[in-house]
């Protein structure tokens, strides 16, 4: 990894970290992020290392722990934060929210809330490139919990049988919600499952952004060169709970475990590497401040953006509108003044 890319890695990881800290703060203060929020703090190296190995026009498909993927792929932060806040300026116009960030402009084909479902979709994007005569690669992010679902098996098998230009990156943070991987998978590693598809499978230190980059870069080159798909398992850890439950700790993980992983924080590790490589403290502090400033601006943009108008409820369902003669989508929205049902 050359110096410029190493700095870029730091920049992107900082963007993700600051963005999620800001989101966490808005949630905690009840300032307008509704619904489920799954933070990837601690997993930035796995995400950024992967996206750095991609070309700007390559594709990513992600999952519910979503924010890092489009940020690492280069999406503007303002519309992402506005989406979390359900504003009309959100990247999905407020229709998707935290679990469904997507920015097609940077090749982010969207995050799904259905575990594993994005895996075959990434295979399909790679197939699409073949049909369109393009050498674009498609990369699927998913968690360790997805390794036991049928979509994982079918998606990897299809990609292998068709020799597609796809890369499958598992962010193995050891747990699916409160469930330890060891309790749901008899096999020793997720990477080892690649053998069932005669596909290379590699396990990599998910805290080391350079190690992840090297592994995914090799997979991307192979994919682009017609060599077929690769499964990369990045061993990592989430610092926060499964989701933000108003600060409640689910306490399903031993405290020492969390501390041990924090001791190998991906941002600290990379910062140390850069310092050792002779990057100055000042340069690094400027990177950090720049990221913080970007995030402050994104929050400002989001908070000052308007909510969607009632008529937008019926928009975006179809490309060619509902308008068959006499057909309507059902009773229209009522004046926004109407009281909510008290459950």
């Amino acid at each position: 990894m050359d110096r410029e890319r190493q700095l870029d890695a730091m920049r992107r990881m900082l963007r993700i970290r600051r963005f999620e800290e800001a989101a966490m703060d808005i949630v905690r203060k009840g300032q307008g992020i509704a619904g489920s929020v799954h933070l990837c703090i601690g997993q930035e190296a796995a995400i950024v290392g992967s996206c750095l190995a991609l070309r700007a026009d390559d594709f990513t498909v992600g999952y519910h722990r979503s924010h890092g993927h489009p940020i690492a792929k280069g999406a503007a932060l303002g519309p992402l934060m506005a989406e979390l806040m359900g504003r009309r300026t959100g990247v999905c116009r407020g229709k998707g929210g935290s679990m469904h960030l997507a920015d097609f402009a940077v090749g982010s084909l969207g995050e799904t809330a259905i575990v594993g479902a994005g895996i075959p979709q990434a295979a399909g994007a790679a197939y699409g490139a073949r049909i369109r005569g393009s050498d674009q690669v498609a990369l699927a992010f998913f968690g360790d919990g997805a390794a036991n679902i049928g979509s994982f098996h079918e998606g990897l098998n299809l990609a292998a049988a068709w020799r597609l230009g796809a890369v499958f990156v598992c962010e193995n943070n050891l747990y699916a919600m409160s469930t330890a991987l060891a309790d749901t998978m008899a096999g020793e590693s997720i990477a080892a499952r690649a053998a069932a598809y005669a596909m290379p499978g590699v396990a990599v230190d998910g805290q080391d952004v350079v190690a992840v980059y090297e592994a995914v870069r090799a997979a991307v080159d192979r994919a682009r060169g017609g060599g077929g798909p690769t499964l990369v398992e990045a061993r990592t850890y989430r610092y926060r709970d499964h989701a933000e439950y108003g600060g409640l700790d689910l306490g399903h993980r031993p405290a020492e475990e969390l501390e041990a992983w924090r001791a190998r924080d991906p941002l600290d590790l990379h910062r140390a590497r850069l310092l050792a490589d002779g990057v100055s403290e000042r340069e690094l502090d400027e990177l950090a401040e720049a990221a913080a400033e970007e995030v402050r601006a994104a929050v400002q943009f989001a908070k000052t953006s308007p909510a969607p108008e009632p008529e937008e409820l019926l928009e975006d369902l179809w490309a060619t509108p509902v308008g068959a003669p006499g057909h309507g989508p059902g009773p229209g929205p009522e004046p926004a003044s109407t009281p909510e049902v008290v459950g």
Partner: protein, 337 residues
């Protein structure tokens, strides 16, 4: 608290937990399949300590697989409660539910029993967006072989779940998550609510509102308001959608002559469509005017709370529909044709 005659106050969520506890104590063949079942957020939290790891196994994220496993276990004498935790996740297991659980008894000429309860919490109105906010019971109502319930209060949540667990057929048990926190009185003792019986939640002579799930509290609120204007609304809660208690619905419409159906599910081919069709077929003579559906429009639940709050039946929407129905109906003496 003592004696079968007493009542206790429970939340809808605790009523569900209580029903499972009572039935698992009663019958050692009742087991729970639920991801993170042992997790503090789940109604089954702590069950493993009382019932052991075999009856509350750790689930991989494999809805299709563990639904198939539940069917295999059910056909050999076990009574699984399969909790999908989010109704949309049933789609991943749709083949096992629709092609197998619903069909095996018929397909095998009565040899197979599939006594499974499929629990499905519906997270709509919680800003979880389209993939976590569905109300899929209309889809399953079109599939023969499944019994379908949607309790609207803690007493029914308890009594219907206990009946469902004891039933020898597959029962899909839908829970509007926004009702989980609602508290209500529940009879002490072995409280069973039979499948297939509607409840008249409020009596009235001027219009019938058939309401489903959390549209029931909304309809009752609307009825209160209308009563002060002298309009007496009868609120019918089917509780069970399959088999549907059409007799109670038809009797109410025979009395009021007007029908409004309030349902948070989508409009097209929804439960409201079926109820409207039954009355247009079997109760036409008693109708004094058009039937009205107060339902969700045919778009997906949006994430933004500013938009999602416009999706579902509210007291205001129900009241407006009742007023329109009362205005737009012909004199009773003409209905005898």
């Amino acid at each position: 608290m003592s004696g079968r005659s007493g009542v206790r106050t429970l939340s809808y969520r605790d009523a569900i937990r209580e029903a499972m506890l009572e039935e698992m104590r009663r019958d050692p063949r009742v087991v729970v399949f639920c991801e993170d079942a042992r997790f503090w957020t789940m109604p089954t939290n702590g069950f493993v300590d009382e019932f052991g790891p075999d009856r509350v196994p750790i689930m991989p994220i494999s809805e299709e697989g563990f639904t198939g496993a539940a069917i295999g276990a059910a056909m050999t004498g076990v009574r699984p409660i399969v909790d999908y935790t989010i109704a949309n996740l049933m789609y991943v297991a749709w083949d096992q539910i629709v092609n197998h659980a619903a069909k095996n008894r018929y397909l095998f000429g009565g040899q197979a029993s599939v006594p499974i309860v499929f629990r499905a919490a519906m997270k709509y109105a919680n800003a979880t967006a389209a993939q976590h906010s569905d109300r899929p019971y209309p889809q399953l109502m079109n599939v023969p072989g499944l019994k379908i319930v949607v309790p609207s209060n803690p007493a029914d949540a308890l009594g219907l779940l206990k009946s469902a667990i004891r039933d020898d057929d597959p029962v899909v048990y839908f829970e509007p998550l926004r009702l989980w926190g609602a508290k209500g009185e529940v009879p002490v003792g072995d409280h069973l609510v039979p499948l297939g019986r509607a409840a008249v939640a409020r009596e009235g002579r001027d219009a019938t509102v058939v309401a489903i799930g959390d549209a029931v509290p909304a309809a009752l609120k609307a009825a209160e308001g209308l009563a002060s204007d002298g309009v007496e609304v009868e609120v019918v809660d089917p509780r069970t959608l399959v088999p549907l208690d059409t007799a109670t619905i038809l009797a109410s419409v025979a009395k009021t002559g007007r029908l409004i159906i309030a349902d948070p599910a989508h409009k097209t081919c929804g439960a409201a469509a079926e109820i409207a069709a039954v009355v247009a077929e079997e109760g036409f003579a008693s109708l004094r005017g058009p039937i009205a559906r107060v339902v969700a429009p045919d778009v997906h639940p949006p994430f933004s709370p500013a938009l999602e709050r416009l999706m579902y039946p509210t007291p205001a929407r129900i009241a407006a529909a009742v007023e329109a129905a009362v205005a737009d109906s012909h004199p009773k003496e003409l209905t005898a044709q």
